[in-house]
């Protein structure tokens, strides 16, 4: 009992002085400036930058926790209790990121299609369209095939021996809505679809992991898929 009270007395005031606290504050500020400089002023490779930033922030975190929150000087029970929460939270974070990582490697978003590399990669799929928004009559294909639109009219395209609109109703409307306003899947109307054609071509061809969108290639040829892309992007429902 006496020992416990002595321990309590000791934790009353940790040994840090005002000057030391201010010094710690200055150090924290300096580290923040360094982080800012690394992000804005230098042109670092992303992975290096991430590692450095995480390391610096961890140092700040540790300083505040150990010295401002006094974990260094207090009863060890406190850092153990806190560690429980912190370690668990960190582990769950890592586990969730790992679980979602695989999904996201395959899904496509705006950012992926902004780079020329992505465009070039899909040129091999036979798609000549470089995804200019609002280009009318972009349905004119360089390689006439079984499907594809007659030049200039995306609504008149033929997909798998039926008009593209009918094909859509028969195969896409269940998830995307008969009026293309979206049900389980997103709305597919010209106003909403503002990304490059490759993005939609790729989604239709390969599906989207983590959602119910299946891949339609190779049942649908590239020309078929192009026709569908032009249809949803340029024909009002």
């Amino acid at each position: 009992m006496e020992h416990q009270q002595a321990a309590a007395h000791h934790e009353e005031h940790p040994p840090t002085t005002i000057r030391q606290y201010i010094l710690i504050g200055v150090i924290l500020a300096i580290i923040t400036v360094v982080e800012l400089a690394l992000t804005e002023a230098f042109d670092l490779e992303t992975r290096t930058l991430v590692i450095l930033l995480v390391a610096l922030s961890s140092v700040k975190f540790a300083i505040v926790v150990a010295l401002f929150m006094h974990l260094r000087f207090d009863n060890p029970l406190f850092w153990r209790l806190f560690a429980f929460g912190l370690v668990l939270a960190g582990s769950i974070l890592v586990a969730l990121l790992a679980l979602f990582w695989g999904d996201h490697q395959e899904s496509r978003t705006v950012a992926a299609y902004a780079t020329p590399g992505a465009v070039a990669a899909h040129a091999a799929a036979g798609d000549d369209d470089h995804g200019d928004e609002g280009t009318p009559a972009a349905g004119g294909e360089a390689t006439p095939g079984e499907g594809g639109a007659p030049a200039g009219d995306p609504a008149a395209a033929v997909v798998q021996d039926m008009p593209v609109g009918e094909f859509f109703q028969a195969n896409c409307a269940a998830c995307h809505g008969a009026d293309r306003q979206g049900v389980v899947g997103p709305a597919l109307t010209p106003e909403r679809l503002t990304e490059p054609d490759e993005f939609y071509h790729d989604t239709i061809a390969n599906g989207r992991t983590g959602t119910a969108m299946p891949p339609w290639s190779p049942q649908l040829s590239d020309e078929d898929i192009n026709a569908l892309v032009q249809f949803i992007k340029h024909v009002e429902p």
């Binding site: 416990q4 923040t32 982080e35 995480v54 406190f78 209790l81 668990l88 974070l93 899904s107």
Partner: protein, 197 residues
């Protein structure tokens, strides 16, 4: 000086006060709360179907200033705790006031940022970035707000006739733990949300 706060301590098995232990366990649970919000943000990073995207809206310089202020508020908070533990009530009140003011400035910065983003097209439901960003930083801001309320209550309490009573060091210390925690969460948010590309 510390003999005063020494008298009142009810005997406990570990020797530490129940209230301080409560705060630490609570902070452990808060790690899970913010951990989940941060996980959501990171999972949706790069998954927005439409813009605006982070790099189009963030003003890193402004946010750095905000971050700096919150960091400095941790300094003033620890000095407030130092003051009460060394029996210097005037310094304690000044440091508490300084912390409150800096906390309010930080909150003001958040409010400005949210309104500005909203104005340039990043509404709450606009895309995955907006949803996860606003909910994460919004709830962090709410915690800062609760902290400000907590500190204002302590400050007002300290000006009353009996002040904060014999347990004053404990009350300020515990409030300080909460305040520092809110600061370290921001350290993580600042890095993962604003700085990392």
């Amino acid at each position: 000086m510390s003999a005063a706060s020494h008298e009142v301590q009810h005997h406990t098995t570990t020797g530490v006060d129940n209230r301080k232990m409560l705060m630490w366990v609570f902070l452990a649970s808060e790690c899970l709360f913010f951990g989940t919000l941060i996980s959501t943000y990171l999972i949706f990073k790069g998954q927005s179907l439409v813009g605006p995207l982070p790099e189009e809206v963030f003003d890193i310089v402004l946010t750095s200033a905000s971050t700096f202020i919150l960091l400095m508020s941790s300094l003033s908070m620890v000095l407030a705790v130092y003051a009460v533990q060394h029996g210097r009530p005037t310094m304690m009140k000044a440091m508490l006031l300084l912390t409150i003011v800096m906390g309010l400035i930080f909150l003001g910065g958040q409010v400005y940022e949210f309104r500005h983003f909203n104005h340039i097209g990043l509404g709450l439901g606009q895309n995955q970035f907006s949803a996860s960003f606003y909910v994460l930083t919004g709830f962090h801001g709410l915690h800062v707000g609760v902290g400000v309320f907590y500190l204002i209550s302590l400050l007002i309490g300290s000006t009353r006739r009996n002040g904060l009573g014999k347990d004053r060091a404990l009350w300020v210390d515990t409030a300080g733990l909460y305040w520092h925690f809110v600061d370290i969460v921001w350290i993580v948010i600042f890095t993962l949300v604003y700085l990392i590309p």
